[in-house]
């Protein structure tokens, strides 16, 4: 039986009918067509579906859709400024070769963003722990870590 939920999605209040059996990922991709959030495994083991809910990085593929009620959900589409200016993290991933095939990138940026919101000056270990749930097959993580470090630097200024 469909139910109506209300929540904040990328800084906009949304009201939507959902099926209780959906995950948040399904709602984002199939209903809102916010397809930047990827399904890499569907069982919380790769991090490609990471979104930020009330400030915390979560796997949207395991997030029961009804739990989004009243929450503040940010996806990769809500990271850049409304005029399209890239977030420092996005810019740093472009500038430092932090992106290759790009499939993990949305999730990586969301995990990194959740970290930087809690800790503006993270250690390398903080960064690595925050993205350890995001599998990347292309980069060996080196330039991703460098991208996050540079973004943190730029955001301090």
């Amino acid at each position: 039986m469909k139910k109506e939920i209300t929540f904040t999605l990328n800084n906009e209040k949304v009201v939507v009918e959902v099926d209780p059996g959906w995950t948040l990922l399904y709602l984002l991709r199939e209903v809102f067509e916010l397809t930047g959030t990827k399904e890499g495994c569907g069982v919380g083991e790769c991090g490609a579906c990471t979104v930020i809910v009330d400030g915390d990085a979560v796997s949207s593929c395991l997030y029961p859709v009804l739990e989004a009620e009243g929450k503040n959900v940010i996806t990769i589409e809500g990271v850049a400024a409304s005029d399209g200016t890239l977030h420092p993290l996005q810019q740093a991933f472009i500038d430092n070769n932090g992106v290759q095939c790009g499939y993990c990138t949305s999730g990586m940026i969301m995990s990194a963003k959740a970290l930087l919101e809690k800790k503006a000056v993270p250690t390398e270990e903080d960064i690595r722990t925050s993205i350890a749930g995001n599998i990347c097959r292309c980069t060996g993580y080196v330039q991703i870590v460098e991208s996050v470090q540079q973004a943190a630097e730029r955001m301090k200024k």
């Binding site: 890499g40 890239l86 499939y103 599998i135 991703i144």
Partner: protein, 795 residues
């Protein structure tokens, strides 16, 4: 070659900004009106007879549009040896055999329908060990070959045999020899974006096929053949790429699911998408195969290699894809890594009821390099020579022609080994046996294309629009390595425009000229060479326009100034400075006389020439466009498996420092140095990205990764149990770029896509030996193997 404006710079990947905003369209997002979703039913047995299939219930499920089995479609063979069909009739030979397929209005309904398909099997004896499968009385995986002729053995009719010199004689004359048996595991490529495709026929039965293939023209040809064989003659096929979420070898061959998708689209008259789950990615895609090597090497009393003899047995699995041709690349290190005059190599591919195999980054090289480099350390120790010195003594040199006929052009292997030695502090740390150790391995790989098809060419078409954008149409593909950025840099350098002016169109057979595919580390080299040549032609055309129009523009401007200001004195200008294209240059969008680069009147922004020079009226208007198809001057391997199949070769070395926990057997990497001969780094940041990424996969190959099969079934088909390293498994890795521009490369560049993976695992194994005196010859080097070996050693 100095004074380059764009090549050699860390140009950001601005062309791929859609990947950081979530807007990039991968297969997951590629949608067509009325599109259906396809799902595949796989075998429940490794080997069985299909007694019956009942699809009635599945067909009656609301939302299902088609259910097909092998009995519903023409029995047409596909694949490299034609040893399988698209959907299997009568027999299944592996767990991933495709038995039926469904198209439905949602993926969920299609999945539901699969459960309603009833298949009755009669299990048959299966064989999983290639050594058992080679025995004369072993049950046959295939009773007949593609043409129906009876087969007597599970050994594939692919005789990989290579001989150079006289190995027997060299063995007898050697002062030292060493023999080792080494094993390498199945490895899943683990693209983060799972496999998928969309097939769509138009009303004339022409096919639009959206595929992740990195060989779009190869895929087109295979599909064309298939359509012809099922009775669709003369149909047009267009293959396009979406954004591709990684390839690593999986997109080299056309996979069975792609043919199934085409069949479902044909049957339903609708666009159909198939998209793999992660579990399918592990159990229904061909991995890198397992290999067993026996390697024997010898050297004289001075440490010079005398011979190398290698025998390999490859578990082919039930069918044949590009896994069976990996010996052509195993040949590289086996015949040509280090100077070795006498070589013999024999590889045997064996059918089993395991999952079949195909390409992965590095092709056969990482497997064979593990054998060669393990043996190198062993032989060095036997001969009492330091392992780094031993490699140095035997290193390749520029100008060498190897036993395989490879012509070594540039070869900074010496610098690579030296860099590794220094950075890993080799002399200080080697030989302590105190739980810490250092190890090394080298590599040779194709870096100037690889002639595995009759053509190894790439065509590039460049057109410059009147507004000054540079459109580059290429038949190549990009799977994430950053080709759009690198080609934009090369085109900007060659044409005289800026990288941001360049707009790259990849991955469309209708727009691009033929290309042999983005594989074998060949794209930057081959497409780059075509791009340089096409870019230079474009530049020439623009300079010809400039000769015509700059004088006109200058004279008009002077006239206007005179009109405005009667006192204006027209300067005396030497128009011979710009009276031929050879006297002009175009760089960074500015046209100028070579003899007076800052000439105040002749220096002209290129856009002005384009607007005034292209659209100039009846009969005179022009377009700036050039195309070049470049096929490297190389040879295919001949019947003796000899031939210079690449224009140039890349060398490199990896050094690793490890700490081994003697109580738990855990290996911790303290430092990894990966030094690579890249010719010239077109974009150093992107080159490092290739090295880091490949080295990381190499560490996984060395320590953690393996597809586990139990009686032919993949038992770890997920990221929890297939252990890709995470960001927390921090490997302190240093990429060292050695530049020694190759005369044949675009601005001197060599290919660098695969090399980083090759020496990593053997360097780790050699470091483990240095740390604890135990040699692990079976990848991955798990704590269990280390501890067991230590216990065996301590008795």
């Amino acid at each position: 070659m100095d004074n380059l404006l764009h090549v050699g710079k860390n140009i950001p990947r601005t062309a791929e900004t859609d990947k950081v905003t979530g807007r990039a369209v991968y297969m997951d997002e590629y949608k067509r009106p009325g599109m259906l979703h396809g799902k595949i039913l796989y075998s429940r047995y490794a080997h069985a007879r299909i007694k019956s299939i009942n699809t009635e219930k599945a067909k009656n499920l609301p939302g299902v549009r088609a259910v097909i089995t092998g009995y519903d479609i023409p029995d047409v063979r596909v694949g490299f040896l034609g040893d399988q069909t698209v959907l299997k009739r009568d027999l299944v030979r592996q767990f991933r055999d495709e038995v039926a397929a469904v198209a439905a209005i949602t993926p969920e309904i299609a999945e539901e329908a699969l459960k309603l398909i009833e298949v009755e099997y009669e299990p048959l004896p299966a064989i999983f060990d290639p050594l058992e499968a080679m025995k004369p009385d072993a049950p046959l995986v295939h009773e007949t070959d593609a043409r129906g002729r009876p087969l007597r053995s599970n050994i594939l009719p692919l005789p990989w045999k290579f001989n150079a010199g006289d190995v027997e004689k060299a063995r007898q004359e050697s002062a030292y020899t060493a023999t080792d048996s080494v094993n390498t595991p199945w490895i899943n490529q683990c693209c983060m974006g799972t496999s998928g495709c969309v097939a769509e026929f138009d009303s004339n039965n022409n096919l639009m096929f959206c595929s992740q293939t990195n060989v779009i023209f190869g895929a087109k040809q295979r599909i064309q053949t298939y359509l012809l064989n099922i009775g669709l003659k003369g149909k047009k096929i267009r293959v396009i790429n979406p954004t591709v979420g990684g390839s690593f070898g999986t997109k080299l061959d056309t996979d069975i699911y792609e043919f199934i998708c085409i069949q479902l689209a044909l049957k339903t008259r609708k666009p159909v998408r198939i998209r793999f789950t992660r579990e399918e990615e592990f159990m229904a895609l061909p991995p890198r195969q397992t290999a067993r090597f026996t390697i024997e090497q010898g050297c004289d009393k001075n440490g010079l290699l005398t011979f190398r003899k290698v025998e390999a047995i490859l578990d082919n699995g039930a069918y044949t894809s590009w896994g069976a041709t990996t010996p052509s690349v195993m040949m590289l290190p086996i015949s040509s890594m280090y100077r070795v005059p006498n070589v013999s190599f024999q590889a045997t591919c064996v059918y089993t009821n395991n999952i079949y195999s195909q390409a992965m980054r590095g092709y056969g090289n990482p497997q064979a390099a593990f054998a060669v480099e393990t043996s190198m350390d062993h032989l060095a120790e036997t001969a009492g020579i330091d392992a780094a010195e031993f490699r140095m003594i035997n290193r390749n040199h520029p100008g060498d022609v190897t036993p395989m006929g490879l012509k070594i052009t540039t070869c900074p292997l010496e610098q690579c080994i030296t860099a590794v030695k220094e950075k890993i502090k080799w002399d200080e740390k080697r030989g302590k046996r105190n739980g810490r150790g250092v190890g090394m391995a080298s590599l040779i790989h194709v870096a100037g294309g690889a002639r595995v098809y009759l053509s190894d060419g790439t065509g590039i078409r460049i057109k410059v629009n009147e507004s000054g954008e540079v459109d580059v149409l290429s038949g190549s593909t990009d799977q994430g390595q950053g080709s759009p950025t690198v080609i934009a840099q090369i085109v900007a350098e060659a044409t005289g425009f800026k990288p941001e002016d360049v707009n790259i169109v990849f991955g469309d057979t209708a727009l691009g000229l033929w290309d042999a595919g983005t594989h074998a580390s060949r794209h930057t080299f081959v497409a780059g060479n075509a791009a340089v040549r096409a870019g230079e032609k474009v530049k020439q055309q623009i300079l010809e326009l400039a000769v015509q129009y700059i004088p006109k523009m200058v004279k008009r401007s002077l006239k206007q100034q005179k009109k405005k200001n009667p006192d204006f004195v027209e300067p005396e200008l030497d128009y011979t400075l710009i009276d031929s294209p050879e006297k002009l240059d175009l760089r960074n969008r500015m046209i100028f006389p070579k003899a007076a680069p800052d000439h105040p009147h002749f220096k002209t922004e290129v856009g002005k020439i384009l607007t005034s020079g292209l659209h100039v009226g009846t009969g005179e208007s022009k377009a700036v466009v050039a195309e070049v198809f470049w096929d490297p001057p190389t040879e295919m391997l001949n019947a003796e498996m000899k031939g210079n199949y690449s224009c140039t070769y890349a060398f490199g070395a990896a050094g690793v420092e490890v700490e081994v926990d003697r109580q738990t057997g855990e290996v911790k990497i303290l430092k990894l140095v990966s030094a690579h001969d890249v010719g010239r780094a077109i974009n150093p940041s992107l080159v490092k990205g290739q090295i880091y990424g490949a080295a990381y996969i190499g560490v996984g190959y060395g320590l953690t990764e393996r597809v586990q099969l139990v009686d032919g079934k993949v038992v770890n088909p997920n990221f929890r149990d297939y252990k890709i390293l995470t960001a927390n498994d921090a490997i302190p890795v240093e990429a060292v770029i050695i530049e020694d521009p190759d005369p044949a490369g675009p601005y001197g560049a060599k290919g660098i896509g695969e090399p980083g993976l090759v020496p990593t695992a053997p360097a780790i194994a050699n470091a483990v030996y240095d740390a604890i005196g135990v040699r692990i010859k079976d990848l991955p080097i798990t704590p269990e193997k280390v501890l067991a070996a230590l216990k065996a050693k301590e008795g």
